[in-house]
């Protein structure tokens, strides 16, 4: 999907010949040290950023530098304060082709289904952090893209809410058939959610290792403490912190 991408910012090399292949409907978590270029990678895939070299391929089509092909949830929730919950969920339609009654009904159904039925017409400032994050995610879902890029969607939440949101995302994924790329700093979260964890090196960003996560689905809280999980976690942490000796072979 991403081939040999290199990105530079005025002298800083952010991504160095990075390649990444993602299957249809796969959930891939990406972890890596801060500043290693994870957001840059997403900006490239979404077309916001044109790489210095390399291509972005989607279903065999070259979409390098083209926006509008994937659903992208940026590191901040970026809800617009002047739109209600429903208004924010249909923002993508409003910005591209105009909102239809159908869009609104779908947004209401989405919000109701995922626990925001009592807040359809609330403005974002009246929502909790977790709710805002959920709305931002629903807005990304409502774009109806096959590929979703989620950049630390739960980064700003406390661990309790975070866990709830992770369970929620798992349930959303079961309903959905989307390909998801998920950036996080939290190794537990990365493993818990994903089919595969990609560990990136420090700047300039390259793929250090790809760890398949063979944990069965559907996953619940039990999975977080399973011996298999701990083992995978140790492997990922070892890679992240560069301590090669800790990596079981």
């Amino acid at each position: 999907m991403v081939e040999d991408v290199t990105c530079r910012f005025e002298g800083t090399l952010a991504l160095d010949h990075l390649s990444l292949e993602v299957d249809r409907s796969e959930f891939v978590s990406i972890v890596g040290p801060s500043g290693c270029g994870k957001s840059t990678l997403f900006n490239t895939i979404s077309g916001l950023l044109r790489p210095a070299c390399g291509r972005v391929m989607l279903d065999g089509r070259d979409v390098t530098g083209e926006t509008g092909h994937v659903g992208y949830m940026l590191q901040k929730d970026l809800l617009v304060p002047w739109r209600t919950v429903v208004g924010n969920i249909v923002l993508g339609a409003a910005l591209t082709r105009g909102v239809t009654r159908r869009d609104r009904e779908e947004a209401e159904a989405l919000a109701t289904r995922y626990g925001l039925g009592d807040f359809l017409h609330h403005y974002p400032h009246a929502l909790s952090g977790g709710m805002r994050q959920r709305v931002a995610l629903m807005r990304t879902l409502a774009l109806h893209k096959d590929v979703l890029l989620l950049d630390e969607p739960f980064g700003a939440l406390d661990s309790q809410t975070r866990l709830e949101m992770q369970m929620w995302l798992l349930s959303v994924c079961e309903d959905l058939n989307a390909t998801i790329l998920f950036v996080t700093h939290d190794v537990d979260e990365a493993i818990f959610l994903a089919d595969r964890v990609v560990v990136m090196s420090g700047r300039p960003g390259r793929v250090l290792e790809e760890i398949p996560i063979p944990l069965p689905r559907p996953r619940d809280l039990e999975a977080l403490t399973a011996p298999r999980f701990i083992e995978l976690k140790r492997q990922a942490l070892g890679l992240l912190h560069g301590a090669g000796s800790e990596v079981p072979t």
Partner: protein
């Protein structure tokens, strides 16, 4: 006694505070007169000035209306010009670099000095006065709109680009609403300036009677009661314009004060002509 609903109570308290502020000013005014033993021809009491207004209302009503009209029309022209200029300037750096120095220069020119050329150009009618009012109003509007457009979160722009936003739709749904709050800051400042602009316009470029010209005549004939009476009326117009902007702001930016959208605004997201589909009954009956 029935309890007063909290919303009404809040409003009543605010009105009471405003009245108390006016009473305080009038009290101080009276105090100054007593302490310094000022004669009525030097400084009349506010009661006397208001009473003079009331006695003279048959004449003053028409004059007040005239000044209010100049203020309002000039304000709207100035606000519109300021808004459009702000938007145009934000669209292009070149335009901004070119126009900004001209704007600042325009505010440095003494308005009184422009009166003569304006009269020569437009005659002694309404037009030169409107130009003068608009001239004072547009500047704070431009500056605030420009600031508002420049301070939009770049990530929000990035998000809308990532969504594949059309330029016009991006403007309408992201940039325009983001400008509303700073726009109203500019409008509030402009609304208070507008009356002064109208008075200067009447003094320098008018053959028509208004509160400004009345003030001038009263001044010339040492009628201090008339001077202060007119001043109080002019001040009231300024304060009323400001309050009108505050009210307009709270209507135009409901998300700043309300938790949920107003009922009338809720359906707006679904205005398109698509057939209603019974499969998804739409609900919009969530309590406030």
């Amino acid at each position: 006694m029935r309890p007063i609903p909290p919303g009404l109570r809040k409003a009543l308290v605010r009105v009471a505070m405003a009245l108390a502020a006016v009473a305080l000013i009038f009290g101080l005014w009276n105090l100054v007169i007593v302490v310094f033993d000022l004669k009525p021809y030097a400084l009349p009491t506010p009661q006397a000035a208001v009473a003079a207004d009331a006695d003279n209302w048959s004449v003053l009503a028409g004059l007040t209306l005239q000044t209010v009209e100049e203020t309002a029309y000039g304000f709207f022209i100035g606000a519109l010009v300021g808004f459009l200029l702000g938007v145009a300037m934000s669209a292009s750096r070149t335009v901004q670099r070119l126009v900004y120095p001209a704007l600042i220069t325009s505010q440095a020119v003494p308005i009184v000095a422009m009166a003569a050329p304006l009269v020569i150009l437009f005659g002694f009618g309404m037009l030169p006065k409107l130009v003068i009012v608009a001239w004072t109003v547009f500047f704070p509007v431009v500056v605030n709109v420009l600031d508002g457009l420049a301070n939009i979160d770049p990530d929000l722009i990035r998000l809308s680009r990532a969504m594949g936003a059309r330029p016009l739709r991006g403007f309408i749904h992201i940039r325009l609403p983001a400008t509303l709050s700073p726009l109203f800051s500019g409008l509030k400042i402009g609304a208070t300036y507008a009356v002064t602009g109208a008075v200067i316009g009447e003094w320098t470029a008018s053959a028509q009677q208004g509160l400004g010209t009345y003030l001038q005549t009263a001044n010339a004939s040492l009628d201090t009661q008339g001077v202060f009476g007119a001043t109080i009326l002019l001040t009231a117009i300024g304060v009323a314009s400001f309050l009108a902007m505050v009210a307009a702001e709270s209507l135009a930016t409901p998300w700043r004060t309300r938790t949920t959208a107003r009922r009338g605004l809720r359906l707006r997201t679904g205005f398109s002509a698509a057939r209603p589909r019974p499969a998804y009954p739409s609900r919009h009956k969530i309590g406030e």
